[in-house]
Symmetry: C2
Subunit: 427 residues, 2 copies
């Protein structure tokens, strides 16, 4: 983390709200209050017996939320929520406080509350579902965002909607499933151990019970982008290196210019935040696999082995759009990297942070596979939308991909020590 | 591996069959034969840059297939295939040869063929899809099985059907989806890196093109059973330790008695093989999460924290079914471990090797999650069927689980050096 003020909430809050505890207990909550809660002083298990060797922990509190410039972890569980009917503004604030409290604990490798899965009353549902007991945090980050619909008239937030939290336009070729798109709230849980990411989403859903319900969710099994220079570039399901020309955490001037929102962008409360765009992109991998290596490389604009631009050099060589081969541009103008490159988009850049997915197969025996694309930026209109408009119109890759889900979320700044994500919005 | 004769196929076979190469190229295969294939002498990339630290490799050739008593890896991609119409017995043998050749390479951290993703002709589809380039084998095992339907009249195998490859009966409470059950062939790919397991299934599906097609498939993100004493016991999505009383690889006398098929079981060709039963079990985790800790522990028969039997002791203490608490059995007779225990099933034991799954969520916002149960044994009738009959009738856990897919497969012995899985069947 470059410029986070890392803090820690030990004893800063008394724990989950009564409403949050009721959520954990479900509807038959009358019996609660005595046994359940944060009374037990149980030592947290965070031993090294986990399946992942990764012992990293990232701060939950700080200037920015973690999970944005954090070195991309290996696995993802992403979830979008809708606020439940009858939920008031105060309830919503309560939910964000409970989420923040539980998230801060989980990112330290702790259970959602002090009594956790086994330290509460025998006669009440445990606070924590338990499947992460004994596992380390494995680099868990929990990043919370607010969709455009949160700023309607339900919570008195209409005047606070950031001008840069636009409604995404529809793009040529979109085939979006509405039930798998949008959402009032989102949570991105990334970890090197999928059991940890799944545990986080499951427990935060539970805490939301009665206040917000899961709208859609997505598991990602392998990161497709490196976000720091220390990481090897991973590969996507087209078999190509992905993340080579990504904005990297170390590019601090670019990160400041292109990723972090500032008060001057029309919404003070977003200062230090960012905007997340998600696109679930189904890849026709069987069709792709039948193309020649030349066609595949022509589509991407880079070679498959090393990831070097077709204009020559090695993986990290600058792309030379003037280089010719057989009289034509060596990097075709309809190649993905040409159309997505900042030089052809008024300098626009993205911090990409996507994941490969496989959701079983269809009835024709084709794997339902692709890229769950996530990117961060401070100006979606002039970054994601600009680039995607160019891609949707001319990208040679369009023959092999289809966008099936879409989301945009304002990701507020990090919570202050003992505070909660969204505190600047509701203050 | 306890008693494998570890061998290695370097130069033992000439590579993928022409038919296999045609599969890789799809229908427009006329152009092939020259550029594609196994000619190029490209060094395989298997560096340590992968996302998983696991550098383990397991032998593909040997007395038994790997992936059975092998220390359970963290991730799973399981696939069931149906043989395509018009496929002959010889084609089927050719497919098994191609699968074995490619599987042996992949389990060594190599690409499916020597020319792989980038070493072939520019003008042909690459042999390998490439997303595992640069990653180590990460403990990959590929285990191939034959379903009962393979022994119908299509391939002249009816007389070779092992008597122990029974059709599973239907059990009380079953809610099976036929499209997600059964299959002529199965492949279990396990690895510590999901990208490696997905790459294996995808490439083996590709090689099968025109000869067998994917019927159903399942990703599992976290192992639910330990199969060796060296492994920490993982947890399932009910938050309980799973695998405590599992048959372990080190119990060699029990493994010989209960896991490996022998010639005396009515099918010579299965000597050294085993039988795999798969059950996709959806877990109603939201309902479970609303139960008290006491109810959860009563259902399982063990405590949630340490995994000790309710009769007392620690995780690996023997269960005392005579112990009483408040006049009743401390381990209730309808608890899962009581009903599943060998003492109550004529000594029957299983080698369990299941995985947690989450397949998104349903329209009510409930995670579609559960256990993809896999077990190995040499006598399904008297092992899985016996135990599952007892569980289906009385298991207190039934209120929280539902079986939605089912499969049974004869898993032949390991291939001999340079041979193929199934050689004893077709010999
Ligand atoms: C399934 C869909 C996609 C695939 C398979 C894919 C794949 C790739 C690959 C292989 C590269 C080259 C390596 C690298 O620099 O990271 C790349 C670069 C890039 N992609 Fe994508 N991409 C997809 C969708 C998108 C979308 C939706 C966007 C944004 C609208 C996008 C924006 C970019 C950008 C900005 C670059 C860097 C271009 C440069 O500066 O050289 N990609 N992508
Ligand atoms: C979602 C479904 C299931 C869950 C959550 C589950 C969970 C558990 C748990 C927590 C244990 C105790 C720890 C251990 O010894 O591993 C256990 C034991 C066991 N389970 Fe399951 N199980 C499920 C399905 C099945 C099925 C379908 C079978 C076989 C038909 C089975 C057979 C066994 C056996 C044989 C034991 C060991 C009993 C003993 O000897 O103590 N389980 N299971």
């Amino acid at each position: 983390m470059t410029d986070d003020e890392v803090t820690d909430d030990t004893s800063a809050r008394s724990g989950l709200s009564r409403r949050g505890l009721l959520g954990l207990a479900g509807l038959g909550a009358g019996v609660l209050g005595a046994g359940i809660g944060v009374g037990a002083d149980r030592a947290v298990q965070a031993s090294a017996t986990g399946s992942s060797g990764a012992q990293a922990t990232y701060p939950f509190y700080g200037k920015h939320q973690s999970g944005i410039v954090t070195a991309a972890q290996d696995r993802l569980h992403f979830a979008a929520f809708d606020v439940s009917e009858g939920t008031t503004r105060d309830d919503l604030v309560g939910l964000l406080k409970d989420w923040s409290y539980a998230a801060a604990r989980m990112t330290r490798g702790e259970e959602v509350s002090k009594s956790g899965a086994t330290g509460g009353s025998l006669y009440a549902p445990p606070d924590d579902t338990g499947e992460a007991l004994g596992l380390p945090a494995a680099g868990l980050t929990i990043t919370i965002g607010f969709g455009p619909s949160l700023f309607d008239d339900r919570f008195g937030l209409a005047s606070k909607r950031p001008p840069r939290l636009i409604d995404l336009p529809s793009f040529a070729g979109d085939n979006l499933d509405d039930a798998m798109s949008g959402g009032d709230l989102c949570i991105q849980a990334c970890s090197d151990d999928p059991q940890i990411a799944v545990h986080a989403i499951r427990n935060l859903s539970r805490i939301a019970f009665g206040r917000a319900g899961l709208r859609w969710s997505q598991l990602g099994f392998g990161r497709t982008s490196s976000t720091t220079r220390g990481q090897a570039t991973p590969r996507n399901l087209f078999g190509f290196k992905d993340g080579t020309a990504n904005l990297k955490a170390e590019d601090s001037a670019l990160v400041a210019k292109d990723v972090w929102a500032s008060a001057s962008h029309g919404a003070d409360w977003m200062d230090g935040g960012s905007y997340l765009v998600s696109r679930k992109i189904r890849m026709q991998i069987e069709t792709w696999d039948h193309q020649s290596l030349k066609e595949q490389q022509t589509v991407v604009g880079r070679d498959k082995g090393a990831g070097a631009p077709l204009s020559g050099g090695t993986e990290f060589s600058a792309i030379d759009f003037h280089a010719k081969r057989d009289g034509a541009p060596a990097v075709p103008t309809t190649s993905h990297v040409s159309l997505a490159h900042p030089d052809h988009n008024g300098g626009a850049q993205l911090l990409r942070r996507g994941y490969n997915f496989v959701d079983g197969n269809d009835s024709l025996g084709r794997l339902n596979a692709g890229l769950f694309f996530i990117c961060y930026q401070n100006d979606p209109e002039n970054q994601f939308v600009r680039i995607q408009t160019a891609l949707a119109a001319n990208d040679a890759m369009n023959e092999y991909v289809q966008h099936v889900s879409s989301g945009i979320f304002a990701v507020p700044p990090g919570a202050s020590r003992g505070g909660y994500v969204g505190e600047t919005l509701f203050a």
